[in-house]
Amino acid sequence: MAEESFLADDFLRQLMSVGEVDLLVGIPSHNHASTLLQALHCVEETLRQNFVRERAVILNVDGGSTDDTRKLFIESSERRDVAHKGLTSLRTIHRISVEYDRSPSQGLALHHIVAAADLLRARACAVVSPGTTNLTSNWVANLLRPVYREGLDFVAPLYARSRFQGLLARDLLYPMSRAVFGQRIRELYSDEWGFSGRLATQCLEKEVWQEEAMRARPEAWMAITAIGGGLKCGQYFLGPKPASPAGTSPDLVDAIRQTVGNLFWCMEINEPQWLNRSSSQPVPTFGPDHELSSDGVPASPEKIFDLFRSGVNELEPILASILAPETHAQIKAIALSDRLKFHFAAELWVKTLYEFAASYHHSVLNRDHLVQALVPLYRGRLYSFLLEHANSSPEVMETRSEMVCQEFERQKPYLVERWTTKH
């Protein structure tokens, strides 16, 4: 019985026409008709300006758009630079498109992208989102160049953010992934990143593509695969991260399910890679490794606290099954504290997260429910952060963030102990 391929014949035919390439840029889409062309032209400009001799393909992987996204991608003509009698890049900038499914899945989209990268023997690849409204050609070039010219295998973006933007990444995802996997990559979860053909080939061989955790946010897994494979990772400062247009960003519950759930899953499947690893190492960084601006104000902190307090109450039995008794007790205690004197200490926060991760590993309850139970606790930590830093300068906030990272690293033996021992 012949084995079914996930690649459609038409997609293979398109790949065959393109042939071997040096560069591949993937643009996952779903109903992005209003912004797709901007991203497409931005990528084309990148290739024309920075990689004029290279063989390149732009690959649109679409999750069942109903708004002509694919049609626009295929039929729009290359925007031409008229400076030289209409002559632009030396080579054809290939443009191909595939509908991988009737519904969107970043994992399936990435699966098609890495398969294309592997089959076309691309040396450097990037994924960019048509939803990123301030995507520039520099962004794309900066993701491709370290891979193509510096030999890196994974390039994460770095963004300039306002003080209260990206807190989930700064207070949870970055410090925890740094402590666990040992590499200081700040933005494991992003809409843009670069990777090598070598990494694509390694990823393609993994039997994870059908996993639910891969559906929404596969990019961190890719970075962790690179780390685990001993490949070189780096990060490139791109500029200000735009706020997602209203209605397009996932709410906090979804965001935590997609990212933290994915992070726990990555820890699960890469256990041998990190259990014995201590401390962390910086990765090659192009441009500043962080940039916080002093603008931005926290929104409705009181409501956040209320949600924390009610969540701790309502989820008490669930939290009791996840957390160690003393941790649970400390959380219940701070939930009762005065709103204005509230403090969710980094030490407790780290311990809480590590216990969640271990409970995820031991499947003490439905994993999705478990991850969702973290939401009110994150709100508590967020509220504490906002109280503490309402008037802090960016420098002070960054110093505190680094202290949180160190706390995650300090307590890592506790994580290993909880992970390896079922309580």
Binding site: R13, M16, V18, G86, L87, S89, L90, R91, H94
Partner: protein, 547 residues
Amino acid sequence: MPQLLDESLWYKDAVIYQLHVRTFCDSNGDGIGDFRGLTTKLDYLQELGINAIWLLPFYPSPLRDDGYDIADYTSVHPSYGTLQDFKDFLTAAHNRRIRVITEMVVNHTSDQHPWFQEARSSRDNPKRDWYVWSDTDTRYQDVRIIFVDTEMSNWAWDPISKAYYWHRFFGHQPDLNYDNPAVRQAMWEVMKFWLDIGVDGFRLDAVPYLIEREGTSCENLPETHEIIREFRQRIDLAYPGKMLLAEANQWPADVRAYFGNGDEFHMAFHFPLMPRMFMAVKLEDRKPIIEILEQTPQIPPNCQWCIFLRNHDELTLEMVTSVERDYMYDEYAGDKAMRINLGIRRRLAPMMENDRRRVELLTGLLLSMPGTPIIYYGDEIGMGDNVYLGDRNGVRTPMQWNGGWNAGFSTADPERLYSPLISNPVYGYQAINVDSQRRSAHSLLSWTKSVIQTRNAFRVFSRGSIEFLNPSNHRVLAYVRRLGEEKVLVVNNLSNSAQAVELNLQMYKRHIPIEMFGRNLFPRIGDLPYLLTLGPYQFYWFRLRRI
């Protein structure tokens, strides 16, 4: 002379062979090729299948620019023979149905030409105004310098008459003043002289530069076109069927003007196409060729583009972008000695790293694309070059006829030859020569004969329209040439690897492709895209027949 089907348009059906009489065959053992020697080689050229010869300048000259510095327009340089030798050669060529196109360097003369000698002799001389003089070197500051490697200015100081004279090329080549009617008349007398002898056409050298006007680039000016129209009118009246070919190294849209309404030049070189053919093969992408042909305007029905791969000059990179130029230098002229001015002084075979497949592919492109093809002498056998000879002399070495004494070019002592032979183990005359290739049915020479013969057999190549197919595989360049019911499908794999391509040939449904070299039938074109596979650098020519 044998009649062609449409005599007046003979240049459209021509396959032109470009040569310098000095390089081809030496009959008197002085080490320099001559007309008598060339005449003895006409059978070879007839056998090759070409039907026109373009001769580089053979006039008396100090030879400081390979004869483009003419000192006497109506005679033959003594090294190459006599005027009678030329006439005998012309008759012999015509007897073989081969036409002869000569060089007419109209823009400038040598500074040794009597016209200039008179002009510089005093400011009052009647010929003073035959050239462009100035008391300062600040006029026409907007004008570019063409020979950037050697010239600092377009003005040169004449110490005799103590004034500056204008020159667009070397300082020893003063530009004629075409604002002076006497100059135009004198040049017409020169043309008449050669047309009366029987030459079939002129290649007019450096035509964009005939007129100077302050505040302009002094190129392609309206007055220049007036002069061309005047020459053309005179030729059409007195010498119908004679042809004018423009050398205007410009973008197609600018060259288009030199065709006028069919009342200026009959033909013009398509300079920008040439580097893009090389680029396309190196890039393995049809884009450069398609792009430049898309920018090429339609020309009047009695006109034709002239296309070429290599010639006696450097492979000019003036009509490419700086990005493209850098790419061409990096890919084809890694050794700085290969570069001169804005170009590459190399021959076809060495540029293709002696890869027979790529030489054939490019020759196949040359012979199947719209336009009259020009083959540079020696390229039909894959001759090499010598980039260390200075200027562009490395691509002007003696023709390699056999593996014997001086490659069969001359009986002189080797030291006396006008130029050293190519003698390296790869391209040297012992390895690459006409005699050895004549003996092999599979040699490049035999192949070239065969492909020229095929082209000559189908007028669709010389006069047909072209329609590019647009297969998704960009490594494949495919087009259909069409003339009435005659249809030819050309499919080229520009890459170094095997390729599959699906062609949309719905317009030719039910036609049977017949491969033109082996005359084999291919599957009939049906409803589905027509699938072809091609080996590295392989190409097909198919006749499309509806039977």
